[in-house]
C-alpha cells in the first residue's frame, strides 16, 4: 500500500513538470491537471494540512447550493447534509503577471512565460475551486488585460482564455505599476506577483512594503531558470538583452563565477526584504514542477483565513 502511494505521488509530480504540461497544450486542461493532481497527493505530501479545512456537516436547508451537498453522506444515511468549511473569506485574489520581454527566455522546451502562464492558470483554477474571487493584471510597460476579481467557472474560463493569448514584450517598471494598480483596489486581498523581477529591486520592495502596509497579503513568485541562474551556456557568446536589445560579447566560462555572485546577491536581497516586509517570497525554477508554488499559495491562503 505504501508503495502504491509513493508511486502515485511520483507519477503526479512527474505530471506537474512544465515540460510535460507543455505537451498537453490547452491551458484549462493544464490548470485542472496541475491542481487536481496536486490536491490528490496533498495528504501524502509535505504540504499536508495547509488546505482549506473541512469543519462539519449540517442538514440541508432550502436555499443551500446543491453542489455543496455531500453526496457520499447522503448515500450512506439517505439524508441530505451540507459540508461546512472552517472559514470562507471570499477575499479577492489578484494575480499580477509580469509579461515583459525577459520572460521570453526559453533555454528548453518551454519559455519562462509559458511557465508563468501555467502557474497563473493553476492558481486561478485553485482559487476559484476554493470559491475565491480572482482578478488578473498583466504588467509590462503598462498594466494590460486588467480583469476584475470575480468568482465562478465562467470567469475562470475567460481568465484562462486571456492567459492563452498573452505574449511577452517590452520593458517593465514593476514597482510603480503595482502601486498604481493597488490604488484602484477597494478591498484588501491576496496579491500574487509572478515575475522574474528584472527591474529596479528597491522599487519592487518598496511597492511590497506599501501593499503590506495597507493590509494586502503578498506572495512573490520569482521565476528563474537554471540555465539563466548559472549561465549554463559555454564559450564565447553574443548575449542579447531580450528587453533592450543590447548586445555584449562575453566568454561564459570566464564570467560565470562573478555572474553567479551578482545573481545570488540579488536573490538574497529579495528574500531578505520581502521577508522583512511580511510577504511570501518563493523562488521557482522553471524546470521544476509547480507543486511548490501551489503549496506556498495554500499556506498563505490558510494564514489569511485563520486571521
Amino acid at each position: 500500500m505504501a508503495a502504491d502511494s509513493s508511486n502515485t505521488t511520483s507519477a503526479t509530480t512527474r505530471l506537474l513538470r512544465p515540460s510535460i504540461l507543455a505537451s498537453i497544450g490547452r491551458l484549462d486542461l493544464i490548470a485542472r491537471t496541475v491542481v487536481e493532481g496536486f490536491l490528490a497527493g496533498l495528504h501524502r505530501s509535505p504540504y499536508r494540512g495547509i488546505s482549506q479545512e473541512f469543519a462539519a456537516h449540517r442538514p440541508y436547508i432550502a436555499g443551500d447550493e446543491v453542489r455543496r451537498v455531500d453526496w457520499r453522506v447522503y448515500a450512506r444515511t439517505d439524508r441530505l447534509y451540507v459540508k461546512e468549511f472552517e472559514e470562507e473569506t471570499n477575499a479577492p485574489v489578484r494575480l499580477l503577471l509580469d509579461t515583459s520581454a525577459s520572460l521570453k527566455y526559453a533555454p528548453g522546451d518551454a519559455s519562462k512565460l509559458d511557465y508563468a502562464r501555467y502557474l497563473t492558470a493553476a492558481l486561478a483554477y485553485l482559487a476559484i475551486r476554493q470559491n475565491d474571487r480572482v482578478g488578473l493584471v498583466c504588467l509590462d510597460t503598462e498594466a494590460r488585460e486588467r480583469t476584475p476579481a470575480r468568482g465562478g467557472q465562467r470567469h475562470l474560463h475567460s481568465l484562462l482564455a486571456l492567459l492563452e493569448r498573452i505574449s511577452a514584450s517590452g520593458q517593465t517598471r514593476l514597482g510603480p505599476l503595482i502601486l498604481r494598480e493597488a490604488g484602484q483596489w477597494k478591498r484588501r486581498g491576496l496579491i500574487v506577483l509572478v515575475s522574474d523581477l528584472y527591474d529596479a529591486p528597491v522599487e519592487i520592495v518598496e511597492a511590497a512594503v506599501r501593499l503590506r502596509r495597507v493590509g494586502h497579503e503578498l506572495i512573490v513568485f520569482h521565476l528563474l531558470d537554471r540555465a539563466e541562474r548559472f549561465i549554463e551556456h559555454r564559450g564565447t557568446r553574443e548575449f542579447r538583452d531580450l528587453e533592450t536589445g543590447e548586445v555584449l560579447l562575453a566568454d561564459a566560462d570566464r564570467v560565470r563565477r562573478s555572474y553567479i555572485e551578482r545573481m545570488d546577491e540579488m536573490r538574497a536581497f529579495f528574500l531578505r526584504e520581502f521577508t522583512r516586509a511580511g510577504a511570501d517570497y518563493a523562488e521557482l525554477d522553471t524546470a521544476e514542477p509547480l507543486d511548490k508554488a501551489l503549496a506556498v499559495y495554500l499556506r498563505r491562503r490558510k494564514a489569511k483565513g485563520s486571521r
Binding site: Y198, E228, I231, T236, L242, V247, A250, D253, R256
Partner: protein, 668 residues
C-alpha cells in the same frame, strides 16, 4: 643553426593556421537571447577584447608544436658555438686596370682604413689578387704587420680572377678556427670580369663586402687582334687600335711592314733573334689616360709567302694538282701568292725555303736523300704534301718507314686497297690545321669521290689522322716535323686512281693546305696569366731571360699551372729548354683595358649583402655539425609532447568548466 632541408621552412607559413582558427572561433560567437545583461555588465571580466584571441595557452601550444615540427622536418644542424673571434680577409685587386691613375693608392688607403677599424683581437689577412691569389700577410691580429703588407701591394699586368681569390680565401678560412668571417674585396670592378662568380661565392661561406675604388677612365687606347703574313715587301704586321671613350668604342686597323732584320720607328720596334724569330713591340698612338696597356709585344717565326712548289713527276697529276694550286693561289693576294713548277726535287733543303708548300706525287720509290731534303725543309717551317700514285712502290716505302731514315714518315706501314671495288673517303677532322679552312660542303664533295686504287695506312705514333676511308682505315695523315708539317694523302689525282683530280673539292682542299702552310705556326703573343705549353716534359727546367737581362729558372709545369708567378709583367721573354731557345711575348688581357667600370648596381647584385648559408669555419666545425645532424629527432619529440600537452590542457579546461558550473550551482 643551419638546415639540411631548408625548403621545409616554407612550412612555417602554416603557423598562421591555428591563429586563423582561433580568430575565426572568436568571430563565430553564437548569439544568445538572455533575460538581462545587468549582471554580465557588472562582472569585471565580462568583456572580451575584440582583437584578443581565445584560449591563448592552447594557441601558444599549437603554434609552438607546429614550429617545432616544421623545424624538425627541415633537419636542423646545431653546431658547436662558433668562436666570437672574427676573421677578415682583405682582397686587393692587383690586375692591370688598377694601374690607372690613383686607383692603387686608393686601394691602399681603403685597406689601411679597414685594418685600422679592426676590433681588438680581430684577425685579418691581406691577399693580392690577380690571376692568382698571393698572400701579402698571413692571418694575424697585428695591425702593424698588416699595414706593412699594404705597402707591398702593387698592381701587376694580368687580369683579375675573383674566383681564384675567393677559392684562396675559402682555403685560408678552412685553416682558421670556427667563427664569423668577412671578405673585404677592394677592386675597381672592371666591367668584364663578373662571369661565373655565383657558385664560388656560395662556397665561400663568408660575407663579401665590396669596396669600389677609382673612377672610369675618360679615354683609353689599346691594341688588339694582331695578324701577320708574308707579303711581297716583307713581313706584314697589322693590329687594331681601339679607342674606348665615354662616347663608345672606335677603332682603326694599323699595318706595319717589317722589311729589315731589325728596325725602329716611333710606333714599332723589332729585331730578328738568333733562332729566326721576330721580336718587338708596337704602340698605340692615340692620346689616353692609361699608359700601362699602350705597348703590345710580339714574338713569332716569320711566316712564309703563300708560294707553292709543284714537283711535276707526271703529266696527269701535274695537270690536275697544278690547276688546283693555280686556283688556290689566285685566292690570295696576287702580289705574294705564286705557284712554281719543277721537274725535280732540289738537292738542297735551302732551295725550298722560299716556298710555304711543296707538293709531290710519289711514283715508284722515295729515296732516303729525297726524304731528308723534304724533312729538313719541314723542320724549318715548311709544309710538305705527298700523294701516293698507283705506281708507288709500297714495299719500298714500308721498308723506308721501318728504317731510321724514314722515321719522319707519318706511317708505320701502308697497304694497297682491295682492287676491283670502289672506295670512298669517310670521316674528316675539319679542326685539324690543314683542313680548318675547308667548308662542310667541300668535305661532302670529297666523300663523294670514287676511289679505285689507293692505300690504307697504319699511322705512326704522334701522327694526326686527317681523313679516313669509309671502312675506318687512315687515308690522309699529318705529322709535325720541327716547325713544319708533312702531309701524306693515300690517293693521287690520276683519273685511273680516283675522281679527285676532276673533283670541284680539290681546289678547296689545296687552298686550305696552302693557307695553313702560309700562316704563322704560333700565336704572336700570349695573354699574361694564360698557360704556356712549351711541348716539353712538365718537370723540364726552363731558363727564363727577361728583357732587362734578369734570368730565372722554373719548371715547365709552372708555366702551365702558375704562369703569373713566372711572368709578372708584359714583355718578351727568352725561354731556353732542352729542345732549344724560344721567345714568347706576353701582353695584358684586353678585358683590363676597357675604360668603364661596373656600376654600383652590378657590384651590389654580385657581392653586397650576401650572407653565408653556413658560418665559416674549419673541418672540425663541419664534422661537429654533422654529428649534431640527428637533432631533428628531438624537435619532433618536443612537438609530439607539446601536442599531448595541448590535448591535456584542452580536456582539463573542459572538465574544469563543467565542474565549475556544477560546483557553483551546488554551492548556491
Amino acid at each position: 643553426m643551419s638546415f639540411l632541408s631548408p625548403l621545409a621552412l616554407i612550412g612555417l607559413t602554416l603557423v598562421a593556421l591555428p591563429v586563423i582558427v582561433h580568430l575565426l572561433a572568436r568571430r563565430r560567437a553564437a548569439r544568445l537571447d538572455f533575460p538581462t545583461l545587468r549582471f554580465l555588465r557588472e562582472t569585471p571580466s565580462f568583456r572580451l577584447h575584440p582583437r584578443s584571441l581565445r584560449q591563448p595557452l592552447l594557441l601558444a601550444l599549437r603554434v609552438l608544436a607546429l614550429v617545432l615540427l616544421i623545424l624538425g622536418l627541415a633537419r636542423p644542424l646545431i653546431a658547436p658555438r662558433p668562436s666570437s673571434q672574427k676573421t677578415r680577409l682583405i682582397l686587393l685587386d692587383a690586375s692591370l686596370s688598377m694601374r690607372a691613375p690613383h686607383r692603387a693608392e686608393a686601394a691602399r688607403a681603403e685597406a689601411r682604413a679597414i685594418i685600422n677599424s679592426l676590433a681588438q683581437g680581430e684577425r685579418a689577412a691581406l691577399i693580392s689578387l690577380s690571376t692568382e691569389a698571393v698572400a701579402l700577410a698571413a692571418t694575424t691580429v697585428e695591425r702593424a704587420e698588416l699595414l706593412a703588407a699594404v705597402e707591398k701591394y702593387e698592381p701587376g699586368s694580368g687580369p683579375i680572377d675573383y674566383n681564384k681569390g675567393f677559392a684562396a680565401a675559402a682555403a685560408l678560412l678552412e685553416r682558421e678556427a670556427p667563427g664569423a668571417a668577412e671578405v673585404e674585396l677592394i677592386s675597381d670592378f672592371q666591367q668584364s670580369n663578373f662571369t661565373g662568380l655565383t657558385a664560388q661565392l656560395s662556397r665561400l661561406n663568408a660575407r663579401v663586402n665590396p669596396h669600389a675604388v677609382g673612377a672610369s677612365l675618360e679615354r683609353n687606347a689599346f691594341l688588339s687582334d694582331e695578324e701577320v703574313w708574308k707579303g711581297a715587301r716583307g713581313v706584314e704586321l697589322s693590329a687594331a687600335e681601339i679607342v674606348s671613350s665615354a662616347e663608345g668604342r672606335s677603332g682603326a686597323r694599323r699595318a706595319w711592314t717589317i722589311a729589315a732584320s731589325a728596325g725602329e720607328q716611333p710606333d714599332i720596334i723589332w729585331r730578328t733573334e738568333a733562332n729566326g724569330q721576330l721580336t718587338g713591340s708596337i704602340k698605340a698612338l692615340a692620346p689616353d689616360d692609361f699608359d700601362a696597356d699602350d705597348e703590345r709585344f710580339f714574338a713569332f717565326v716569320p711566316p712564309r709567302s703563300a708560294r707553292a712548289l709543284l714537283i711535276e713527276t707526271d703529266a696527269e697529276t701535274s695537270l690536275y694538282t697544278g690547276a688546283a694550286l693555280e686556283a688556290a693561289a689566285s685566292s690570295f693576294d696576287e702580289s705574294h701568292a705564286l705557284l712554281t713548277r719543277q721537274r725535280q726535287l732540289p738537292a738542297q733543303a735551302s732551295d725550298l725555303n722560299p716556298y710555304a708548300l711543296v707538293v709531290l706525287t710519289l711514283h715508284g720509290q722515295l729515296r732516303a736523300d729525297e726524304l731528308r731534303v723534304l724533312t729538313d725543309y719541314a723542320a724549318a717551317g715548311g709544309t710538305v704534301w705527298l700523294s701516293l700514285a698507283r705506281t708507288a712502290d709500297a714495299p719500298q716505302l714500308n721498308a723506308l718507314a721501318q728504317s731510321e731514315a724514314g722515321s719522319a714518315l707519318p706511317f708505320m706501314s701502308l697497304t694497297r686497297l682491295t682492287a676491283g671495288r670502289a672506295w670512298n673517303l669517310g670521316a674528316a677532322d675539319t679542326a685539324a690545321p690543314a683542313l680548318r679552312f675547308m667548308s662542310e660542303k667541300t668535305v661532302s664533295a670529297l666523300r663523294a669521290i670514287v676511289v679505285r686504287e689507293g692505300y690504307a695506312l697504319e699511322p705512326r705514333a704522334g701522327a694526326d689522322t686527317l681523313m679516313r676511308w669509309s671502312d675506318g682505315a687512315a687515308a690522309f695523315v699529318s705529322t709535325r716535323i720541327g716547325a713544319g708539317r708533312l702531309l701524306l694523302l693515300c690517293v693521287s689525282t690520276e683519273s685511273a686512281a680516283s675522281g679527285l683530280g676532276s673533283s670541284p673539292a680539290l681546289p678547296s682542299l689545296v687552298y686550305s693546305i696552302l693557307r695553313e702552310a702560309a700562316s704563322p705556326r704560333e700565336p704572336l703573343s700570349y695573354t699574361l696569366g694564360a698557360a704556356i705549353n712549351l711541348g716539353v716534359a712538365p718537370e723540364s727546367s726552363v731558363t727564363i731571360t727577361e728583357q732587362s737581362g734578369r734570368v730565372t729558372q722554373a719548371k715547365a709545369s709552372a708555366l702551365m699551372q702558375r704562369p703569373l708567378s713566372v711572368f709578372k709583367e708584359a714583355g718578351i721573354y727568352r725561354l731556353e729548354t732542352e729542345a732549344g731557345a724560344r721567345f714568347v711575348a706576353l701582353n695584358p688581357p684586353v678585358s683590363e683595358s676597357e675604360r668603364s667600370l661596373a656600376d654600383a648596381a652590378d657590384v651590389q647584385r654580385y657581392f653586397d649583402g650576401k650572407e653565408p648559408s653556413t658560418p665559416a669555419g674549419g673541418k672540425e666545425w663541419r664534422e661537429a655539425a654533422e654529428r649534431g645532424g640527428n637533432i631533428w629527432r628531438y624537435f619532433l619529440g618536443a612537438a609530439f609532447l607539446l601536442l599531448i600537452a595541448e590535448l591535456f590542457v584542452r580536456a582539463r579546461r573542459q572538465s574544469r568548466s563543467r565542474l565549475m558550473s556544477a560546483g557553483i550551482r551546488s554551492e548556491s
